[in-house]
């Protein structure tokens, strides 16, 4: 809790030029919108790549008109080559994990709303914040540039397992310049996220307005805060790993390539490296990354649900502790990606235990959501539909974690479509649903206009049914031993699975097309949507108390708000109806401290 003198740290005058206002802006709100725009561009590219991949998986020899325009050698006669498939797959995953699932729920919404929800004028280091976005933008350009180098982007998958990723051109198309650009892009991306995380942590700890104790932060703010702590530690490990990978390419080092590596009958000029070292470094980042993608969604969904249930969660604190437990445990479970990697089999059991234990805080979160739904006065709108859909998807993706947490079962399921189905549901679709819920909920505050509800609902129905139609069958494929990262299904035992792949492709094309409804809604509502009131959902947290909508440059005008209540005072009788805003001095109920 801090007084106003402290809260002026991030203060800066309103910009006047177009460039400082919309391009190199110091305003956290503009930076948040820039991150959202980047994520939107990235997700459309990522989805387009997945369409191409799915078409190829359903009909391997299909000529996709115009495909040759995207690649120099990857599509003779518009038919995808094996290497081009792997390149698209790698780019799809990298774009989605880093530039969509990390940027949208965390960097975009967090940037826009965290300072407002804590009652600050801006983040404490606005220049770092601006740099964080532009560095991320450069990282994206570097990644995209690999489409234009001679043999295209890397084909090594988003995990970039060494030594394939470290031996250079001899490893295959894209394994030279493509990998270097990939590693460079990710290292730059890490810098952006480290700068962002520092700002988020400091904003939460030091920039809270008078009366805003930590426990009075809304759950969305808690989600961003916990994520920023994870981001600070996880990206700090990935960045040096990427630098070592680049050095193996350009400086003749052998961090990840052992001696006696023979490719094309040629001994490689490397010695003494460890291939498992890369896996340890990568997954020490990689597993927290899963939670970096999903914890902000948990916070956003909690926030959206509470507002639309018109009642607080069963326990605010238990939810916060559970999200915190997920964050802490996320560092102890990473070895479950490596059960059959060749690391000591005792380690597999050691990593299995926390992986099974992490289901407990996850279950607590789900049970608190469901228990809170009991006795609610639930409003059904696009935002709440996506929030409820998030819960359904999180359950569906979560239960498959029981299987993958066990080394013995992993012998059968490792590297199959079961894993792909699991993470797509839980960190892909669920996280996307969190982003959608947040968008329908906060769009009115960000742009001063309402989104079209009918289009929002159509978008929801197509996405909800479509996502299940795509990703549930992935689990069946995995059980039947369908290996992932195959451009065609050469083994005989996979032949009977091809019709299922065709079904998935059709479902993916349909569901993907439905996302264009969202994009249309976003752009049309931005300019022609019905004007939004300051507090259209009767919310209680500080973003609904700004003097104008969208909020002014310094968020709260001349005077920072004073907070009197816990964040979610719903289901009470007050002068405004069934809620009391955090800034209202009115007493909310018998338990309220005001």
């Amino acid at each position: 809790m801090h007084d106003t003198a402290h809260a002026h740290v991030g203060q800066h005058a309103a910009p006047t030029s177009f460039i400082r206002k919309h391009v190199f802006s110091l305003d956290h709100k503009v930076i948040g919108k820039q991150y959202y725009g980047l994520a939107l561009a990235a997700v459309l590219i990522g989805m387009f790549l997945s369409w191409l991949m799915r078409l190829h998986l359903g009909w391997t020899n299909l000529a996709i008109p115009g495909l040759h325009l995207l690649t120099k050698n990857g599509a003779p006669g518009d038919v995808m080559t094996p290497e081009f498939y792997l390149q698209l797959m790698t780019m799809h995953a990298t774009i989605m994990v880093f530039f969509v699932l990390t940027t949208a729920p965390f960097a975009a919404f967090g940037n826009y709303f965290l300072p407002i929800q804590v009652g600050a004028e801006d983040m404490p280091f606005p220049h770092f914040n601006m740099m964080s976005f532009w560095v991320t933008f450069v990282a994206f350009l570097v990644l995209m540039s690999s489409f234009f180098v001679s043999d295209g982007p890397t084909l090594g998958g988003w995990t970039q397992y060494a030594p394939l990723s470290a031996v250079g051109q001899v490893g295959g198309p894209g394994e030279g310049a493509g990998v270097v650009l990939w590693a460079l892009s990710i290292a730059i991306f890490c810098v952006g996220q480290l700068l962002g995380s520092l700002n988020f942590i400091t904003t939460t700890l030091d920039m809270r307005t008078r009366g805003m104790s930590l426990w009075r932060l809304p759950l969305s703010a808690w989600g961003w805060f916990i994520t920023s702590v994870m981001g600070l530690t996880a990206f700090a490990v990935l960045m040096p790993a990427c630098i070592l990978l680049i050095l193996d390419h350009v400086a003749g080092t052998s961090f990840f390539v052992p001696a006696n590596t023979v490719i094309n009958d040629q001994m490689q000029p490397h010695s003494g490296g460890s291939t498992l070292l890369w896996q340890h470094l990568f997954w020490f980042f990689g597993h927290p990354e899963v939670y970096i993608a999903i914890v902000p969604g948990m916070g956003i969904v909690s926030h959206v649900l509470i507002t639309n249930m018109r009642k607080p969660m069963l326990s605010h604190r238990v939810l916060v502790y559970a999200m915190g437990a997920l964050a802490v445990l996320s560092y102890m479970v990473y070895g479950h990606h490596m059960f059959v990697s060749g690391m000591n089999p005792v380690s597999s059991l050691v990593f299995s235990f926390p992986t099974l234990v992490i289901t407990i805080p996850s279950t607590i979160v789900v049970l608190i959501w469901m228990g809170s739904l009991y006795g609610a006065k639930l409003r059904i709108n696009s935002a709440s539909l996506f929030a409820l859909g998030f819960i359904s998807m999180f359950i569906a993706g979560g239960v498959s974690g029981f299987f993958l947490a066990q080394p013995s079962i992993d012998i059968m399921l490792h590297a199959t479509y079961f894993v792909v189905g699991h993470f797509h549901l839980v960190m892909g679709v669920a996280a996307m649903f969190g982003i959608f819920a947040g968008t329908y909920f906060w769009f009115p505050k960000m742009y001063g206009r309402m989104m079209n509800e009918t289009l929002g609902k159509i978008h929801f129905w197509c996405s909800f049914v479509g996502a299940y139609a795509i990703f549930m069958p992935f689990h069946y494929l995995g059980l039947a031993g369908n290996v992932r990262r195959y451009q065609a299904f050469a083994p005989e035992y996979m032949q009977h699975l091809i019709p299922l792949h065709k079904f998935i492709t059709i479902a993916a094309l349909f569901t993907g097309a439905a996302q264009l409804i969202f994009v249309y809604n976003l752009f049309v509502s931005r300019y022609k949507g019905e004007p939004a009131r300051d507090n259209p959902w009767q919310g209680t947290s500080l973003e609904w108390s700004t003097p104008t909508t969208p909020p002014p440059h310094n968020n709260f005008g001349d005077k920072l708000p004073v907070v009197y209540h816990d964040p979610f005072q719903y289901g009470v009788e007050s002068s405004t109806g069934d809620y009391v805003m955090q800034t209202s001095p009115e007493k909310a109920g018998p338990d309220d401290e005001a």
Partner: protein
């Protein structure tokens, strides 16, 4: 709309479960001696995960049905037992489930990884390289000759880099493109990669193990059913990854000996 949503959730949950219950797409038949505990572990996990999935989707759907579209006079209610009940439920239900799965899972895992191969196990070496497996049998002397990576030459079909002129142990080594093993005999498989990461996966055998370049690993198993199976690579190894496969023939002892004789003659 809430009711429609609830019904959609019910239908999706049930439809998702049907292929699992009917085993429409399921694991291949187990042909190993160590696979039974793995399959049992899979069935138990499927039952527990399935019940959790169906129960929670149904409750979610039911609550959406029941508590949406409130009438003006409706008051909110709190779940009896509050958050405490939820935390206890999570610890008791999931905690017990986790503990049980964890404890029984150790047994299935230990079966595979914590027992040494039998002294009379048949040694076979598998070498993975972009994009093929090659297999090596030690011959009558029972020992593998040393590998000279600098002598690897695919054009001369010296896939392993063996120096048969100088290394006595290498002279009787038999290198094959297909793997054959005698039925009901334990196999000690030594795994070696000459280039990048690969993996050795035979679904019927309940064996999946990555190759680690720079480090030789070993697994052991006993195949119990005569037949021809596929070995596939599951670790992304480059553009030909999807096509990196080999056949595993499980043969009667007589057939295995005959096969070995034939392969030996072809060296």
């Amino acid at each position: 709309m809430a009711k429609f949503f609830a019904i959609t959730i019910f239908v999706i949950a049930i439809v998702s479960a049907i292929p699992i219950l009917r085993h429409t797409w399921w694991m291949a038949e187990d042909i190993s001696t160590h696979g039974a505990p793995i399959d049992e572990q899979m069935s138990e996990t499927m039952a527990e995960a399935g019940i959790s999935f169906l129960a929670s989707q149904f409750i979610l759907g039911y609550f959406i049905w029941k508590f949406s579209n409130p009438k003006p006079g409706d008051k909110i209610k709190t779940f009896p037992g509050g958050a405490k009940a939820m935390v206890w439920a999570a610890f008791l239900l999931v905690g017990t489930e986790v503990l049980a799965l964890g404890v029984f899972g150790v047994k299935a895992w230990a079966n595979v990884y914590f027992t040494p191969p039998a002294a009379n196990a048949v040694p076979v070496e598998v070498q993975a390289g972009q994009f093929a497996f090659y297999f090596r049998y030690p011959g009558p002397d029972g020992s593998f000759g040393p590998i000279h990576p600098d002598m690897i030459n695919e054009a001369n079909q010296n896939f392993y880099g063996l120096d048969t002129d100088h290394d006595a142990d290498s002279k009787d080594d038999v290198v094959t493109a297909e793997m054959a093993v005698p039925v009901n005999r334990e196999i000690h498989l030594i795994m070696h990669s000459k280039d990048v990461g690969h993996s050795f996966f035979v679904p019927e055998l309940r064996v999946q193990q990555d190759f680690v370049p720079g480090m030789d690993l070993s697994v052991h198993f006993t195949a119990t059913k005569i037949g021809r199976y596929e070995i596939v690579c599951t670790q992304l190894c480059g553009l030909g990854h999807y096509n990196m496969k080999a056949y595993l023939s499980v043969l009667s002892l007589e057939d295995f000996d005959a096969w070995m004789k034939k392969e030996k003659a072809m060296q």
